[in-house]
Symmetry: D2
Subunit: 154 residues, 4 copies
C-alpha cells in the first residue's frame, strides 16, 4: 500500500506513557513480553520462547501470538493519542501464516489511520529462528480513544 | 440464528483426545485456564482472575480473552474431527463487548459448520462477577483439520 | 450463547426510519435487495438470484453476500439507535460456510450488545434452495452510532 | 512490514485466466467494476461512482467497497495458483477508514503468504476524489486453492 506520511504524536511524552502502561500489564509480564520499540504510530513487542507460552506441538501458542499482536497494535495507537486519553481494543482479527516456530516472536504494530475516536491498525508477527524472520501472523485492529478525564490513568 | 441439529462426533474418544491435547498446552496451564466441558461441537474453557492475567486497569487482559476464545472454538472443532487428525487455527476475530471485569471468564465455543477441511466456529466469552455473567467478547474463527498421518500427535 | 433479553428501541419510529434509510440506498436497489423484517435489535434482508448478482460458477457473488450481511447487521443496530442519530459500519468480518447456491439469500442481523457509541452485531446468511435454508455465511460487525445533529439525515 | 520477495506465478497464463474469470462475474459487471492490473501476487480493481453503487449519504456503499476488496484479494491469490486450480474466499474482514467519497474506488490486493491450500491476502481500498487518493478501507482475507480436476472451470 501507499506509505502514509510519518505521523506526529500530539503528546510529547508518548514514549513514557506507553512504557508505563505496558509495565502495568500483569499479563504481558507473566508471558515474558517486552516492549522493544515505540515511535509515533508504531510499536514493537517481543517475547522469547519457553514452554509456558507454547502449545501442544512445541510452537508458540496462538493465543500468545494474538496477545502480542493486539498489544503492538494497541500501543501504536496509544502513541498517537492526546495526553490524558486512554485506549481500548474494540476488536482485532488475526490470520496465522505459519507456525510460531522459533526462539522468539516479534510483533510490529502500525497505525493505518488515526481518528479522533477510532484508530485503525495493522500488525505483523514474525517468528525468529536462528536469526531468520518468518511471517507468522497478520492482524487488523480497531482501537477506541477515550478522552482525558480527571483521575483516569492508562 | 436457526439452531443447528446436534452434531455427532466421528471419533468416539473425542473427549479424551481433547482433554489430553489441552493438558499439553503449556500456555493454557500458565494462564490458569481449565477445560470445563467438552461435547460434540461445543467446548467451555474458564480462567480465574489474578494479576498475572490482567491489564493496567485491573481487568482481564484482551490477549487472555482472545486466547481462551481461540481455545474454546478450536477444541469445539477438534471434538468433531476424525480420529488421528489434528487441528490448527487459521484465523480468528474477536470483538470486545465489555471490559473483562470479574472473578472469572468463561469461553463457550460452538461449531457452526464442520467441513472436511475447514470448520467454522463461534465463541462467546462471559465475565462472571458475583455470580452474574456479562458478555465480554464474541469470536468468529476458522479451523483447519489436518488428516491423520503416521506419528502425528495432537 | 445465552439468549439476551429482547431489547427495546429508544426511537418509537425505528421501523419507519430504517425503511426510509434502506430505500435511499441505491446499491441495495441495484442489487435487488429487500428489507423484509425490522424489529428492535434485529433485521432481515433478502435478495433473489439473477446473473447480475452472481459469480463465475453461477452462485451468489461473495461481495453480494457481504453486502446484505453488512446491511442486515447495520440496520439491526440502527433500530436501537436514538432518534436523529446515524449509523456507520466500522468493520465487519464474514466467514463463508457454503456456496451461495439457491433462488434467494436471506441475511438475519442481530444486535449482541448496543452501546452508546459502538454496537456489536452478528448476522447469518442463508441460501434458500427449493425451500431449504443452508447456512452460507456468518458475519460479526462493529457499528458506530453518530449522535443527532441539526440537518443530518440518515 | 518487511517487503516479501516478488513472487513468481506457477501458471504462465495467470493473467489470461484471471481476466477470463473476472469477465464471467456478473456481479462485478453489474457494479461496473474493472480489473485494471494483474501481476503475480497482486491485483487492482476499480469502480467508478454512480448512484447504483451508493448508499443513503451519496458515498460508495460499504457492501460495494467490500465486494471489490474481496475481488482484488481473491484474484491476487488466484494469480499464484497452479494451472487448473480454482479459488474460493474462505473469509474476509474489512475495516473502514473513511467514507467512500470520490469519483472512483481503487482496490489493491496483495498476497502475504501463498500456501498450497490456503493463501493469506491483504487489500487496501482508496477513494479517489479530484485526483487525490484517500484510504477508505483495509481488508485481510483467507482464500482456499482447490486443486485442478477434470472439467472444472474457474
Amino acid at each position: 500500500m501507499k506509505k502514509p506520511a510519518r505521523p506526529t504524536a500530539p503528546d510529547p511524552d508518548f514514549a513514557t506513557k506507553v512504557r508505563e502502561s505496558f509495565a502495568h500489564q500483569g499479563a504481558m509480564a507473566h508471558l515474558g513480553a517486552r516492549l522493544v520499540r515505540i515511535e509515533p504510530g508504531s510499536c514493537e513487542v517481543e517475547i522469547p520462547f519457553r514452554p509456558e507460552v507454547g502449545q501442544q506441538h512445541g510452537y508458540f501458542h496462538g493465543g500468545v501470538i494474538g496477545a502480542i499482536a493486539d498489544s503492538a497494535g494497541g500501543y501504536a495507537a496509544f502513541s498517537l493519542a492526546p495526553a490524558g486519553s486512554a485506549v481500548l481494543t474494540v476488536e482485532f482479527k488475526l490470520n496465522f501464516a505459519a507456525p510460531g516456530d522459533g526462539q522468539k516472536l516479534i510483533a510490529r504494530g502500525t497505525v493505518l489511520r488515526a481518528g479522533r475516536s477510532l484508530t485503525l491498525t495493522r500488525a505483523e508477527v514474525y517468528a525468529v529462528k536462528d536469526g531468520t524472520e518468518t511471517l507468522c501472523a497478520a492482524m487488523q485492529q480497531t482501537v477506541i480513544i477515550l478522552p482525558a478525564r480527571p483521575g483516569r490513568e492508562n
